[in-house]
Symmetry: C2
DNA sequence: AACGATGAGGGAATCGGTTGCACAACGGTA
DNA sequence: TACCGTTGTGCAACCGATTCCCTCATCGTT
């Protein structure tokens, strides 16, 4: 298969290996390896520089597969998200991938579709590919795969959602929920509904807690509409809202997706936003600012969260196991919220 | 570092290797390897089954890094997309990843942000990680990285967009553009504008050609508004459209993103859709059906395109280099288009 | 009874790096 | 001058599979 002449020169087209560089430079493989490794003392030495030039000259590119095998690590983190077609998750993943790159790692993504079975399967697949750690935004309050990771002692960090003792980097959902609700209260609203989001996600629970904090503070009752994170369920929630009597004058949706679905449903039913109904979303996806009526929402610092997740994973030794880094969100007032008259 | 006793049994926690299985089964590594390889004759033999049971029993999981090194292939395809935060690209990637899985491959994604420089950099990164081939949706009419792949003889296939002689799996953009425009013509529109999309993308060019075909057929003039693929540029195009005199009664946008931006801009200016302006998008992203006025659009068979791309890459030997597989899109009439009265 | 075909299975090389250990050369210090 | 620390470098083992090349036993044929 691999045809090499006795002298270990190689046919055209085959990639040069470290041995070829060694041959060309008249030194041993070990020396070349050290000349190429910035961590090694030898790296900063004139002859190392010469070797690097020769390596460059013959078009040498190190084979990470071989290095990974010997080093017993891949310099790669697996990232498990529910789905990439959810803009929030795509944003998070892009940030996570670039945080990895900054720290000299690679990212490998897989999806769970919020199904525990698929989460487990794809999580194991990532581990099977020998990633050095896992970043997951798929945590569920019942544990599931996280639990398994904890038990097996696999390095991992949760992001966006938390569970148990795992290290985590999250937005302050409770604060965000409070901010959103507070904004509506400040505009004079007294009947404020919540599109709750799924009970398996700590993020949805946190936002709900913030919503309830604000209402309790104001001495007002909570009105909770069940939902998942999807646009469809936002539509359902919108229809449910219209059936309420008395109808709420404002609604806080667990995320922008459900807000979009809800807007779609209520506007189609002839309800004017924001005149007859104020709406606040969550996440500030790019679309939010570009809806026909721009959506008031909560902005989450994804860049910081993703960066912190990667940091926690890399500096695992430094951090206490149960470390949680929490980042404050901010309210972005736009067109879908209006003062009550 | 790795502490193993002379007998090659290993401490708790360390993963068992093929040697451990061999030891436990009383056979050689080669035999275990063959017992685990479904391609090998020996695989279907009672003792192979016994070995597999033992492997399972000791919790053996093959190390793909070692196998990749020896086999000189990674069973992984690199997928290069402009950005994952564009729902269309996220949809495509998810389909591509699952097509890879079906065929026993893995997918590794990277982004170009439609910048030739970053495309080249990340493309090389994927190649450096020793992927077996590349799927790219980033092709530009000027060539760029595709050109380099062609010259270096790297196995690759383009998707969604084409360039030169590279194999490709695409939607029939010309047909899609024709369908969209034809639909507007059939509704009686006579002044139909185009939000053109970037000139570097063959997809945008194809849709434009279809648009021009239909208008030529009807003996009507083209009205072309420049744009990229982004929502922002859709807003710009919307404002440009409003400035036109006489104002078009309909517009075909190169994709749903620009359509959303355009809708946002014109509705904010008080133009009623569809009564005063009909709009057709392209791609049928999930959001399209859930806009306050559901968007008429062209549905693209992403599943088929992604599957074909993977097939072309795997069966590269079978297909002629320049093979292009083209899939027909379909019109999805919804709320943003109305008959002229 | 001899022979070839077939299948099972072992030994060892191999993929392409990394790294522990050893040693030589050199400069500085006591 | 003897000794020691530093630096440069090579040898060889190693990571965990896969696969080529054999050997050996078994079985069916003529």
């Amino acid at each position: 298969m691999s045809e090499r002449t006795p002298e270990s020169t190689r046919e055209q087209g085959a990639r040069p290996t470290i041995s070829d560089v060694a041959l060309a430079a008249g030194v041993s493989k070990s020396t070349v390896s050290r000349a190429l490794n910035p961590e090694h003392r030898f790296f900063r030495s004139p002859s190392a520089a010469r070797i690097r030039e020769i390596a460059e000259g013959v078009g040498y590119e190190p084979n990470p597969v071989a290095a990974n095998l010997r080093r017993q690590q891949t310099n790669t983190f697996g990232v498990l998200v529910p789905r990439l077609t959810d803009t929030v998750m795509a944003m998070f993943y892009e940030e996570a991938a670039s945080a990895c790159t900054r720290r000299g790692y690679h990212a490998l993504v897989a999806t769970s579709h919020d199904e525990p079975e698929l989460e487990r399967e794809n999580g194991r697949m990532l581990l099977g590919r020998r990633v050095d750690g896992l970043i997951l935004t798929t945590a569920r309050t019942e544990g599931g795969f996280c639990q398994e990771l904890l038990e097996r002692g696999v390095p991992h960090v949760l992001a966006m959602r938390t569970f148990g003792d795992s290290a985590a980097a999250v937005g302050d959902d409770r604060l965000g929920g409070y901010l959103a609700t507070r904004h509506l209260l400040d505009l004079g609203h007294r009947r404020i509904a919540l599109v709750a989001g799924p009970a398996y996600a700590s993020s949805a629970l946190g936002r709900r807690a913030g919503y309830e904090d604000a209402l309790r503070e104001a001495g007002l009752p909570a009105v909770v509409l069940p939902s998942t994170f999807s646009m469809e369920s936002g539509e359902d929630a919108g229809r449910a809202l219209l059936a309420l009597d008395p109808r709420p004058t404002a609604v806080f949706a667990v995320n922008d997706n459900t807000a979009v679905g809800l807007l779609s449903a209520v506007q189609r039913a002839g309800v004017r936003v924001p005149e007859e109904l104020s709406v606040v979303g969550y996440n500030d996806i790019p679309l939010a600012a570009r809806l026909p009526v721009p959506l008031t929402t909560i902005r989450v610092p994804f860049t910081e969260i993703a960066g912190a997740a990667v940091d926690l994973l890399i500096d695992a030794g430094a951090g206490v196991p149960g470390t949680t880094r929490r980042f404050a969100p901010t309210l972005i007032p736009r067109g879908t919220t209006l003062r009550v008259r």
